[in-house]
């Protein structure tokens, strides 16, 4: 047979190569461009040093607290069964696609100056709470990442073989022995990866810093880039800061890749086993308290958005909201489509290389990590600088946002699709070879039907992430071309927090709807 395996893998290689090229241009190209540009801004002002320190310190605090608090919560979820348990666990996945600005507004409604808690403690003579600055940034990051780490740890607990729990009971382990022999080894493995992941996510979370940070004491590097670009228009200095940001994130991402393989798993549901840990009345009460507090911490801010936003929706939202909503949906759809295409192409590419040249296949993973390390802001800054000589960057705000958002959700989409693709090849590659199922037909009859579920999930994730993004758009958009999150931010800046809550509710509904439609679409008619 002259037609061996080569023709089959040519297309995926071309497509994968193209996707790699786009990514490389967006990440490494961006770095090169920034490097060339930065020569005029090669300096670290005292304010920059402060931003550097603040970025690292808030990331460290956020990651540490998320990990510490996730342990009791995950343990309680593993040990206890109660009505709504599945819902609780499913809800832990929600903050991942929750628009950051919506969460911030919700947190302000609970923890802010005129929030629920301030109202509660005012009669007791305690002054209103203030969550602007370090406290607020860490609180918001905790809100996002506590559920993430809890899910990772819950997976870890569920992953302990049932036999080991039985062995522990048979051998008469005390709770101490049990912790030492069953749980501590799992925690060591899971927590190191989770810590680095959260650290990385907190370093690159712009929206939280933009809304809750600011000022000399609470400016992150990304916020400093934003200010250099938008207010000082110092491209060289912005480029230099972007390089620093990229270096730090790349280090953290490499560490995370080395330590926490598999931690980025975003599978829809967490399989939950049976509670078999040793246990007493005190432990039960403690678990109940932990579950209640955790639930309140996560649910109250969203509830407040509902309470404050619903009347606004009924009365009517400001006029600029609707065109912004349309722009947001269009950007999200374009971004999700781009992301899916790149993820499919890269998955096929990685798959054809696996087993031949492991190094090359790893390159695919590394590119995924690069995008995780290159914050949307770093890429956005580079694009701004690249576009500026030729066209008005502000006029290209929406296409640029769609592209950058696609690149941003790619590592997550890749984590979902690539293993599925590889598994299909492993399981059915030989069979389809033997019945002569090749090329496009193989994609149509084998890969696509089996990939629809993960692909739908990944697309939904990507659409929701893009929908809620407040990063690049803040850099590029003029007020009349904003997306929904940007409109929300403007309303909040104008102290119209009730109107903002109405917009938040709309944004939330649209994000959830997009996610649901794609995720659902991937499941219809599948027998798997």
């Amino acid at each position: 047979m002259a037609r061996g395996a080569e023709p089959v893998s040519l297309v995926p290689r071309l497509a994968g190569g193209a996707a790699l090229l786009v990514l490389a241009a967006l990440t490494l190209g961006a770095i090169l461009l920034l490097g060339a540009q930065a020569d005029t801004g090669w300096r670290l002002d005292p304010a920059d040093w402060a931003a550097l320190r603040f970025t690292l310190w808030q990331s460290f605090l956020s990651a540490t607290l998320s990990c510490l608090l996730a342990v009791p919560l995950a343990r309680a979820l593993f040990r206890r069964r109660f009505p709504g348990h599945r819902l609780y666990v499913a809800f832990l996945g929600a903050p991942f696609i929750l628009p950051a600005i919506v969460a911030v507004l919700g947190l302000l409604a609970v923890w802010g100056r005129s929030g629920l808690l301030s109202d509660l403690i005012a009669p007791l003579g305690f002054g209103p709470l203030d969550i602007y600055g370090l406290r607020g940034v860490v609180l918001a990051h905790l809100f996002f990442n506590l559920p993430l780490v809890t899910r990772i740890l819950l997976q870890g607990w569920v992953g302990i073989p049932r036999e080991h729990f039985r062995l522990a009971r048979q051998l008469g382990f005390t709770p101490r022995d049990q912790f030492r022999h069953l749980e501590a080894p799992m925690l060591r493995r899971s927590l190191s990866g989770a810590f680095l992941l959260v650290f990385l996510l907190c370093m690159t979370s712009f929206a939280v810093a933009l809304t809750l940070g600011g000022g000399p004491k609470a400016t992150t590097i990304e916020l400093a880039i934003y200010q250099a670009l938008r207010f000082e228009f110092d491209l060289g200095h912005a480029a230099f800061l972007a390089l620093i940001q990229f270096t730090l994130c790349a280090l953290a991402a490499l560490l995370a890749l080395g330590v926490g393989r598999g931690v980025l798993d975003l599978k829809g549901a967490v399989a939950v086993g049976r509670p078999t840990l040793a246990d007493g009345r005190v432990a039960r009460a403690a678990d109940r308290a932990v579950l209640a507090l955790g639930g309140l911490f996560l649910l109250l801010p969203l509830g407040m958005i509902g309470v404050r936003g619903l009347p606004e929706l009924v009365v009517g939202l400001p006029a600029q909201v609707w065109p912004a909503a349309l722009r947001s949906v269009l950007v999200a759809l374009a971004s999700a489509f781009l992301c899916l295409m790149m993820a499919l192409a890269l998955s096929a590419f990685i798959d054809t290389l696996r087993g031949r040249r492991a190094g090359l296949a790893l390159a695919g993973d590394v590119v995924g990590v690069l995008t995780l390390a290159a914050s949307p802001f770093v890429i956005g800054t580079a694009l701004f600088i690249a576009i500026n000589p030729f066209a008005d960057p502000f006029a290209l705000a929406l296409p640029v946002t769609a592209l950058v958002n696609a690149a941003m959700s790619l590592p997550f989409a890749l984590r979902v699709i690539s293993p599925a693709w590889t598994e299909i090849t492993r399981a059915y590659g030989g069979l389809s070879e033997s019945v002569g199922l090749r090329g496009w037909q193989r994609v149509r009859l084998l890969y696509w039907p089996l990939l629809r579920r993960p692909a739908g999930f990944a697309t939904g994730l990507s659409a929701a992430l893009s929908m809620g993004d407040l990063g690049v758009i803040a850099l590029f958009a003029t007020p009349d071309r904003g997306t929904l999150p940007l409109v929300m931010h403007q309303l909040m800046g104008a102290y119209r927090s009730d109107a903002a809550a109405g917009v938040a509710l709309l944004l939330l509904a649209l994000s959830a709807a997009l996610f649901w439609i794609f995720d659902r679409g991937g499941r219809i008619d599948t027998r798997l």
């Binding site: 073989p161 051998l171 008469g172 022995d177």
Partner: protein, 233 residues
């Protein structure tokens, strides 16, 4: 140790198993039957991992109602995951003496003697991942030996081993059982295993554990259900 199941009914999710039989002290009994018939549930129930809905288990006439697994005078080896991957062979075996692994020098001597006995001399510092499947089984048996409980139950821990290795393991189990004078319950899919070390066999099928009968007699003229399971020989 005489083992009595008196009108025992066990529940495992929606599955129910009934058992009503008696096993004499020091007997070696094979447990056979189709997959999903209840073999593993029977052993898990005897070990205290599944709740008894009705009836009870007695050892030498003493009921085990409500006795936690660790306090029951028995050891159960699972199909897999019998060793902790982050502990050495010596530590895994040592758990049979003290779960907190604070072993006295006397304990350590006993532990090393047990490792010698199962053929793992000098391998105590290794981790389970460095061992072959047979060696892992031996390590688990060393721990069972140290626990020295009068009822030893095996839920197919040797299923993944080749025929020769499995025969070696069975002989080792038979030797340990004889030394300790323990009663042995052993799940297996192979009539040859039963013939090799178990003069009695309990047939488990469709949620019912039948009383033990002589293995040779049972295999010579199997009832229809067992015949279907064994296939034409």
């Amino acid at each position: 140790m005489t083992l009595d199941c008196e009108g025992l009914r066990l529940r495992n999710g929606s599955f129910e198993l009934t058992a009503d039989f008696s096993v004499p002290q020091g007997a070696s009994v094979a447990v056979m039957g189709p997959s999903g018939g209840g073999k593993s549930s029977l052993l898990a129930g005897l070990a205290g991992f599944l709740p008894a809905v009705a009836g009870r288990v007695c050892l030498n006439g003493a009921p085990l109602d409500g006795v936690p697994p660790g306090d029951r005078p028995m050891t159960l080896l699972f199909q897999e995951h019998n060793l902790f991957p982050h502990l050495t062979v010596a530590q895994n075996a040592g758990l049979g003496l003290r779960p907190d692994l604070k072993l006295s020098s006397e304990d350590k001597a006993r532990r090393d003697a047990a490792l010698d006995e199962v053929g793992l001399s000098g391998l105590g510092a290794r981790y389970p991942s460095d061992l072959s499947g047979g060696q892992r089984s031996r390590a688990a048996l060393a721990r069972a030996l140290l626990r020295d409980r009068p009822l030893l139950m095996l839920d197919e821990p040797f299923a993944a081993l080749g025929p020769a290795l499995r025969a070696d393991m069975l002989d080792l189990v038979a030797r340990i059982r004889a030394e300790q004078g323990a009663t042995l319950l052993m799940v297996t899919h192979h009539p040859a295993d039963a013939r090799r070390i178990a003069p009695l066999t309990i047939f488990v099928d469709e949620g019912r554990a039948h009383a033990p009968v002589e293995t040779e007699v049972l295999l010579a003229d199997p009832p229809p259900a067992l015949k279907r399971y064994l296939g034409e020989v």
